[in-house]
């Protein structure tokens, strides 16, 4: 390997890093999606005979800890509120439930869950690239979670299934500068500026 090759590789690396840096400042990447919440247990609402057949749906958000640093987060946004789950670990498929932190904001109610939720990742399947493993090139991923103590109610459990896409999408041909351009979706973000 010649010095020239190494230099050109270094230059390529620096260029890639600069582009990544620009992209990150322009718009932080995350996974946005949605799906359904179902298989509620009777404990979720003991006096409601139809709770076990309830199906809720919403827009979801997934922040994988292995890519952006812990914690991992999943939030579920409904028309009347939002639930957030946070865990200082990766949301990898598991046969066990793990303790997490839950918070929720609904009309006339906001709370840190008095009883910690416990989460089991039933599935985390990369949909695109096809046959890919989860990583920085993952564009589309399916998550299925079983969450105990949902709503902060002991014994209440639900299944959450959803499809999540990386936003902004990884598009090789798109210059990083285009992320600064006018986008119809800019108004969808409500996060405060980074410190």
């Amino acid at each position: 390997m010649t010095g020239k090759t190494i230099l050109s590789r270094l230059a390529a690396c620096a260029c890639a890093a600069l582009m990544l840096g620009t992209a990150t400042t322009a718009a932080a990447q995350t996974f946005l999606g949605g799906g359904a919440i179902y298989n509620y247990t009777q404990e979720c609402s003991p006096s409601n005979p139809s709770i076990t057949s309830r199906v809720s749906y919403g827009r979801f958000h997934y922040r994988p800890g292995e890519e952006f640093g812990n914690p991992s987060e999943v939030s579920l946004t409904f028309t009347d509120g939002t639930v957030l789950f946070r865990r200082w670990a990766h949301l990898e498929r598991s046969n066990s439930f793990y303790s997490a932190i839950g918070r929720q904001i609904f009309s006339a109610s906001h709370s840190l869950y008095p009883t910690n939720p416990r989460i089991r990742v039933l599935r985390r399947d990369v949909l695109y690239p096809v046959n890919g493993t989860f990583g920085p090139d993952t564009a589309l991923v399916f998550l299925r979670l079983r969450i105990q103590n949902y709503w902060g109610i002991p014994g209440c459990a639900v299944t959450v299934s959803g499809s999540f896409g990386r936003i902004p999408a990884l598009v090789a041909s798109a210059p990083a500068a285009s992320l600064d351009g006018l986008s119809l979706d800019d108004g969808g973000s409500g996060a405060p500026p980074a410190p």
């Binding site: 946005l32 999606g33 949605g34 799906g35 359904a36 179902y38 199906v55 749906y57 919403g58 827009r59 979801f60 958000h61 946004t77 599935r123 399947d125 949909l127 564009a139 589309l140 399916f142 299934s161 959803g162 499809s163 999540f164 896409g165 990386r166 936003i167 902004p168 999408a169 598009v171 041909s173 798109a174 285009s178 992320l179 351009g181 006018l182 986008s183 119809l184 979706d185 108004g187 969808g188």
Partner: protein, 160 residues
């Protein structure tokens, strides 16, 4: 223009109300994501754009539903659209949208001027195991009846 928009919105609202009262349809509710826009820059969608969405799916031929048509409704932050396609589509084969409506953003309902197609890709095997689930992964060409614009959708729904 404004007037027709409001009257259409009212019609959709009333129709939705009557469907709810009937209560006999077979319907799946859920959500997902749209992205991978291609050829849509002139309409304001960049290739890097994407949106979370909620959706509703009523497959044809199931109790209470149209015997011959599937209907799909997808709602974003800023607008919603609804489309009808013939049931009996197969994976990988484009199926033509026969009716289309946009609500919000000065929307209307119409038969697409362009050949607007939906092409479903097979879902991962695990989602076929539960008949109460529907996992729709599809591309729409001439999306929103916008010539040359396509986008990819991934929507997971559960039967209500």
């Amino acid at each position: 223009m404004t007037r027709s928009y409001f009257s259409f919105a009212t019609a959709v609202f009333l129709a939705a109300g009557s469907f709810t009262q009937a209560g006999a349809v077979t319907e799946f509710h859920g959500g997902g994501v749209v992205g991978n826009y291609s050829g849509c820059e002139a309409y304001g969608y960049l290739p890097t754009d994407g949106s979370a969405l909620v959706g509703r799916y009523r497959p044809g031929g199931l109790p209470g539903n149209s015997p011959t048509n599937d209907t799909i409704s997808l709602s974003y932050n800023t607008y919603a659209f609804h489309l009808t396609i013939p049931s009996g589509w197969s994976y990988g084969t484009p199926v033509q949208v026969t009716w289309f409506a946009v609500v919000g953003g000065g929307g209307d309902a119409w038969v697409p001027n362009n050949v607007m197609t939906v092409t479903f890709q097979p879902p991962p095997a695990f989602t076929e195991a539960d008949s109460a689930d529907r996992f729709l992964n599809f591309q729409i060409d001439n999306m929103d009846d916008l010539a040359g614009c396509s986008a990819v959708f991934s929507v997971f729904l559960h039967q209500i």
